[in-house]
Every structure is written in structure tokens, then in C-alpha cells.
């Protein structure tokens, strides 16, 4: 298979790096917000440790924005970066549908779901061979990127909206669907943890598969190999 000389469209690269900035700010300020009340609940209400399904550990200051405990400052950053994050995601999706990057590179094809293909894909990953699919991305890559772009990142925005009391009069149905405000808050936290998990594996795989050419491709767009 010949790979196209242009590996990543400008819009993909713009989305990817602005998303990274927004994400780091949201995640680190989110940890300060979590420190303000470290218990997560299911349902509409909850305020005491005994009602919690999870007591989250206290995150050390160096992991948080602003680097010392201030819920007020952390919330300032969180609600500013939320705009960058949500608008970039919207822009990324529109670009990806218009230039057909989604259909061409990320949507999986039926034959890729055959057990034999999935097995072969996993085996290749274990040999650290990531460049084996037919298209730009192999099956597992497509699936992961698809889930991140289509479920987890939009889920961050929707659960974030659901925790905001000012939005609830209009989006009450969404809060109900998530099982109540405290459930929505739990999902917001769980999704943030999933994003972090993806981030770690993603960066690890970039490093394993050749960080220099990968980064060059994601910055300049040209296939860096």
C-alpha cells in the first residue's frame, strides 16, 4: 500500500494541538476541583463519605492548576478552556466530515471486524508493528480514535454541561438520562480518567512507533518517514 505523501490534513493538526492545550488545562484544573470534594456519588444527591461510591485520592499540587489549592482559580481556568475544547472539537468534527478524513481513515470497514483480522491486528501490535493496516490507521487505531473522538470527548462536554445548574432547566432530560446530577459528575470524572488512560497509551505508542517522524508528520502534515 502506498501511503499518501500528505499524512495529516491541516485541520486535523490544528484540532490535535489546540485540543492538547485545552485538555491539559482542563485535566489539571479538574484535579483541583476534585480536591475540593473528593467523593463521587450516584443519583441526584450526595454530600458525605458514607454515601460515596468512590473516595478519590487527593492529587498533589504539582499535578494541578494553579499549582496550589484554589478552587476559584481552577474553576476560572476550567470554564475558559472548556470553550476552547468544545469549539475545537466541533470544528474538528466538521472538518473531518467535510474532507472525508473520517470516512476514509477512521470509520472501520465490515471486513475489519472479522475475528481473524482482529486477532492479526492484536498480534501485530504485540510485535510493535503498527503500520500493517490497509489504510492510514490499522483497526485498533481506528476503533480507539473513533471512540475518543465520537464518544469520550463529546461525553466530556455533555457531562460538563449536565453538572452546570444554569443549564439544567433546559437540559434536565440529559441529566436524567445520566441518572441525576451526581451521576453526571461521576461520569465526568470517569471520562476524564479514560481520557488520561488514552493519553498515556497514545503517547507511549507514538514513542514506540518512532516519535520523531510521528511528531514531524503531526506538525508539518508531510509524512515524516
Amino acid at each position: 500500500m502506498t501511503k499518501p505523501a500528505k499524512r495529516h490534513a491541516l485541520t486535523t493538526r490544528l484540532w490535535h494541538w489546540s485540543n492538547l492545550v485545552a485538555m491539559v488545562i482542563l485535566f489539571m484544573s479538574g484535579l483541583t476541583i476534585s480536591n475540593a470534594h473528593r467523593y463521587l456519588y450516584w443519583g441526584d444527591w450526595g454530600f458525605e463519605a458514607k454515601d460515596a461510591w468512590l473516595a478519590v485520592p487527593r492529587f498533589p499540587d504539582w499535578m494541578t492548576i494553579p499549582g496550589y489549592y484554589s478552587l476559584a482559580v481552577a474553576r476560572d481556568w476550567h470554564i475558559l478552556a472548556a470553550w476552547l475544547f468544545a469549539l475545537t472539537l466541533l470544528f474538528g468534527w466538521i472538518a473531518m466530515l467535510v474532507n472525508r478524513h473520517f470516512k476514509r481513515d477512521i470509520a472501520t470497514r465490515r471486513e475489519e471486524w472479522r475475528p481473524a483480522n482482529i486477532k492479526a491486528d492484536i498480534a501485530a501490535h504485540l510485535r510493535l508493528d503498527f503500520d500493517h493496516g490497509k489504510g492510514k490507521y490499522n483497526f485498533i487505531q481506528k476503533l480507539t480514535y473513533g471512540l475518543v473522538l465520537g464518544v469520550i470527548l463529546p461525553g466530556m462536554v455533555l457531562t460538563g454541561i449536565a453538572i452546570s445548574p444554569g443549564m439544567e432547566p433546559t437540559f434536565g432530560w440529559m441529566v436524567d438520562l445520566m441518572g441525576g446530577r451526581q451521576s453526571a459528575r461521576s461520569f465526568h470524572f470517569i471520562f476524564a480518567a479514560l481520557v488520561f488512560g488514552f493519553f498515556v497509551i497514545h503517547v507511549l505508542l507514538v514513542i514506540l512507533s518512532g516519535p520523531i517522524w510521528q511528531l514531524r508528520s503531526m506538525i508539518t502534515g508531510r509524512d515524516g518517514r
Binding site: 491539559v24 488545562i25 476541583i33 476534585s34 475540593a36 470534594h37 467523593y39 456519588y41 441526584d44 444527591w45 450526595g46 454530600f47 458525605e48 504539582w62 499535578m63 492548576i65 494553579p66 499549582g67 484554589s70 478552587l71 476559584a72 482559580v73 474553576r75 476560572d76 481556568w77 470554564i79 475558559l80 472548556a82 470553550w83 453538572i163 452546570s164 445548574p165 444554569g166 443549564m167 439544567e168 432547566p169 433546559t170 434536565g172 441529566v175 446530577r181 451526581q182 459528575r185
Partner: protein
């Protein structure tokens, strides 16, 4: 261990950068502008009168947590509490045509609204309770706002860390049907930890807007001359004035 040191160093550099941005004039402006974009988005997407969810009585949480001041010791509050707040007055004043001074009995005799609503604290927890009291709009109409009035300030009896508590809302939230002056919680007179004898309910915003130990309602044209100038005790300490986020 080395990698961890690297992460810590990178984190520290990033944080220093963030704090530089936050301290710079345009950075600070951007950070506070984001709050008003959220407010604009919320108000664009929601009808001004749209109601916060109300629950059946069976949803009431077993106990209603108190936060911030839970037993004020300043002024004559304790003496007032000992006399069951018999001499408590609620003033309606500022930019109004007819200032009012109401006793608790006056307030209980007004038409009442009872609502089972959820209270969301900025820290993250929520509790559900049933609140009873007259709508704020009733008092504002009785006193008749002057055209210059743009905000309603809530004056409180309690001090927190040595500073007087206060809060404010704009006229949209002041006239919202669920904005009431509560004197009952779950069918009982308001407990001291929850703001006895009177507190605000501003149902579409976070808990710190719901001023407790209410002594006066004041119509003003600007928030700048009050205390820290940001329109509330927590706002003066950096929190968002629009607390619907």
C-alpha cells in the same frame, strides 16, 4: 525516579506559565470573560423563566448539610436565636419607591411557594430539600423598583472569617419564579445551620449565591461600592459572580 523529576519540572514550568498568563492583564480579562460567555450561552439556550427541576418529597435527602457559616457568633445573632427571632426584621430598601421593614410574621402571611429542589455546592456535592417562602418578586413589586435598579443585593447577619457575608443577583434571577425567601426547610422552621430565620433560594445557581441569615434586600445600580466590589463574599475572593456553571 528521573522520569518523575522530569515530569515535576515540566509541570512546574507549565504551571509557572499558566500563572503568568493569569496574572497578566489580558489573561485575567480572558479568564473572567469566559464566565460571561457561559452566562450568555445559558441564557440564550434557556428561557429566562425556565425552572430548575423540582422533585417529589420522597427524593428529599436524609439531612441537609450546612456549609460556610453554620452558627454565627457575631453581633446579636445568638441573642436573636435565643428569642426565636421574635425581633428579626427584613428590610427592603435601596432604589425602591417604598422601603419596607417586615417581621417574620409579615413574611409568613404572604402567599407562599413550596419547592423541593436540589442544592449544588461549588465544591461538588448536592443535597435535596423542601423550601417554603414568598417569592422575591412579590416583595420587589410591593416596594416598587426604581428604573435605575439593576441588581438586588442580599445583606446577611453572619461574618465568615471576620468579613460580612453578602450576595447579589441581576433582575432576571431576582424575578425568577423559584427565587424565594425561605423560612422553612422540610416543613420545619429553618435550622440555624441552614440560615435561620431567613435565607435566599436562587435555584439555578450554585450554593454560595443562596445568602443565609438574611437581614435586608437592597436594590442597587452597581455592585462596585459594596465591600470588594465583585458582588458577593465569595466573588470578592475570586469565585464567579454568575454561578450557573
Amino acid at each position: 525516579m528521573k522520569r518523575r523529576n522530569f515530569l515535576v519540572a515540566a509541570g512546574a514550568a507549565f504551571l509557572a506559565g499558566c500563572n503568568k498568563v493569569a496574572e497578566s492583564a489580558p489573561g485575567a480579562k480572558l479568564l473572567s470573560a469566559a464566565e460571561s460567555w457561559h452566562k450568555a450561552a445559558h441564557r440564550f439556550l434557556s428561557n429566562r423563566e425556565a425552572l430548575a427541576p423540582e422533585y417529589p418529597r420522597s427524593a428529599i435527602s436524609p439531612y441537609f448539610r450546612g456549609n460556610g457559616s453554620v452558627d454565627p457568633t457575631n453581633g446579636d445573632y445568638q441573642a436573636q436565636a435565643a428569642s426565636d427571632f421574635a425581633n428579626w426584621r427584613l428590610e427592603v430598601r435601596g432604589l425602591v419607591e417604598t422601603p419596607l421593614s417586615l417581621t417574620l410574621d409579615n413574611i409568613r402571611r404572604l402567599p407562599q411557594r413550596t419547592q423541593v429542589t436540589r442544592h449544588d455546592c461549588v465544591e461538588g456535592w448536592s443535597a435535596i430539600g423542601e423550601w417554603t417562602g414568598p417569592q422575591l418578586s412579590l416583595l420587589l413589586d410591593a416596594a416598587t423598583l426604581r428604573p435605575e435598579a439593576r441588581y438586588i443585593v442580599f445583606r446577611c447577619a453572619d461574618e465568615l472569617s471576620g468579613a460580612r457575608y453578602y450576595e447579589s443577583v441581576d433582575l432576571i434571577d431576582a424575578y425568577h419564579p423559584q427565587t424565594i425567601i425561605a423560612h422553612r426547610l422540610n416543613g420545619e422552621p429553618l435550622p440555624i445551620k441552614n440560615g435561620a430565620p431567613l435565607r435566599m433560594r436562587i435555584e439555578r445557581q450554585l450554593g454560595y449565591k443562596h445568602a443565609k441569615y438574611l437581614t435586608a434586600i437592597e436594590a442597587v445600580a452597581s455592585l462596585e461600592d459594596l465591600y470588594g466590589g465583585k458582588g458577593g463574599y465569595w466573588e470578592d475572593r475570586g469565585y464567579q459572580w454568575y454561578a450557573g456553571i
